[in-house]
Symmetry: C2
Subunit: 281 residues, 2 copies
């Protein structure tokens, strides 16, 4: 199938493990803070605490970059800042475009964290003609028609999608066709992109759902039976439930939803489904 893969495919980042790459920005932040307080060196223990990881992990991570520490002393803060910035590619400036200037898009445009790292908002793009020309975060919003021209003229390779879910794939396709090879997606959809294009997604409601899961667990343990329910117990219960489950399903199929049964979940909020992450763009 040459249709293009869906998500971070076999793009194994040569050399540095993906898990490590994901933590480098964390270290960088902690180091920057230390640097501002003019702290000259840190131990792996201290830095790890500041970054919220354990020291063994941090040392392993750094070992992939090279041997930048001094035994018996620690790491030189300034020097590490430089090395990590370099490794992350933050010593150059990355022009980015934000597409979809609704509530969230505007928040992103105003977000200082971008500019303070190596990112520069090259343009804000929105499909609403009424938005065109209006300044957001000091930048005039441009119309979607200009998208391709903006990408090429500015040599943009990173795009941020903050449109409603419905528009996301379309926008994504245009970005990619115009030359964008990295996409940060805030729309609650799975984007399909060709090989060689990286997509990362941020989904606000998914994060909350994960929290809800754990929250429910806590509640269950407090009220529930034993403190430590074994894995087996769960598996067995699930297996036992299967019979009952099948009956319920059949009942439901006959159009008579049982008291504690399906079909209820989908009428939670009417024909709403995947609501856009932002105001209509």
């Amino acid at each position: 199938m040459a249709t293009g893969r869906t998500h971070r495919p076999a793009t194994r980042s040569r050399g540095i493990p993906e898990a490590t790459v994901a933590r480098l920005p964390l270290y960088l932040r902690a180091l920057t803070a230390l640097s501002e307080r003019s702290v000259p060196t840190v131990s792996s223990e201290e830095l790890a605490a500041a970054a919220g990881v354990n020291s063994a992990k941090l040392r392993k991570d750094f070992s992939y970059l090279g041997s930048y520490g001094t035994r018996g002393v620690g790491y030189d803060v300034e020097y590490l800042v430089y090395q990590i910035s370099r490794e992350l590619g933050l010593t150059q400036d990355w022009p980015v475009v934000i597409v979809g200037i609704g509530n969230l898009g505007a928040a992103l445009a105003n977000y200082g964290g971008f500019a303070s790292r190596g990112f520069r908002v090259a343009a804000l793009i929105d499909a609403d003609p009424a938005m065109a020309g209006k300044p957001v975060a000091g930048i005039a919003v441009q119309h979607t028609d200009e998208l391709e021209k903006i990408i090429t003229d500015n040599g943009v390779s990173i795009g941020v999608i903050a449109t409603p879910a419905g528009a996301a794939q379309q926008v994504c396709d245009r970005l990619v066709a115009a030359g964008v090879t990295s996409i940060l997606n805030f729309a609650p959809t799975v984007l399909t992109v060709p090989d060689g294009v990286d997509v990362r997604k941020v989904d606000l409601s998914i994060e909350l759902q994960i929290l809800a899961f754990h929250e429910q667990r806590k509640a269950g343990e407090d009220a529930g039976h034993d403190d430590e329910e074994s894995d087996d117990a769960r598996a067995v219960a699930a297996r036992e439930a299967r019979r009952a489950v099948r009956e319920v399903r059949e009942a439901a199929a006959k159009g008579a939803p049982a008291a504690d049964a399906p079909a209820g979940a989908s009428d939670r909020k009417g024909p709403d489904g995947d609501v856009p992450a932002v105001m209509p763009a």
Copy 2:
């Protein structure tokens, strides 16, 4: 050390692997879409494609919940929606508070994806007295002074922090003290919480930095030497660089930054550092 751990500690979620939990919302979304199109059943292959994972993974994931499929047929859409919702704890309504009603906080308040799942915005809280009483997304913003009362009165157990980095830990402490046990943190800081409290973080600039890393890789490969640089080559290069590196560092220590050297990284943007994710709250 009773100081309280930093990040998802040993809270191994009994039974269902964390990685699976993180994907359940994805499946749920795909299923909801199918449900709306009145599709009665899906195969693991189809659903996996819609969710952007491969089918083996999806089947494994579902196997942790129980045996909810029918061999030779697939999964009953409505039924799976129900089961996953149940597993995620979305059959009940979770009141959440959002603290820090800046640009991002407002975007979150307006985000339809919360309400459409089992989440209800119980209150918006901000430290700015001028904000108090102003309606955002149809809800009057309340002052931080009310925080504890709001939490207890509404039985809130999930809090969203969208304040500037500087205020986040303080807000977090108050939320936790008032009874919140799950926190979604948008501020670019590592939060320290007691055991039993879950924290998930969303950091916009970290995501971009990860993209930049991969983007740099791509560029390097295009321009660079061999197509497929071996892991060893990198390791060796790093090791060789060590010598040079040490010299550079010593030069820098003497106050004479070399042409291609440290200290440059921190003056990128003056005394800016960790800029808040949102407007001052």
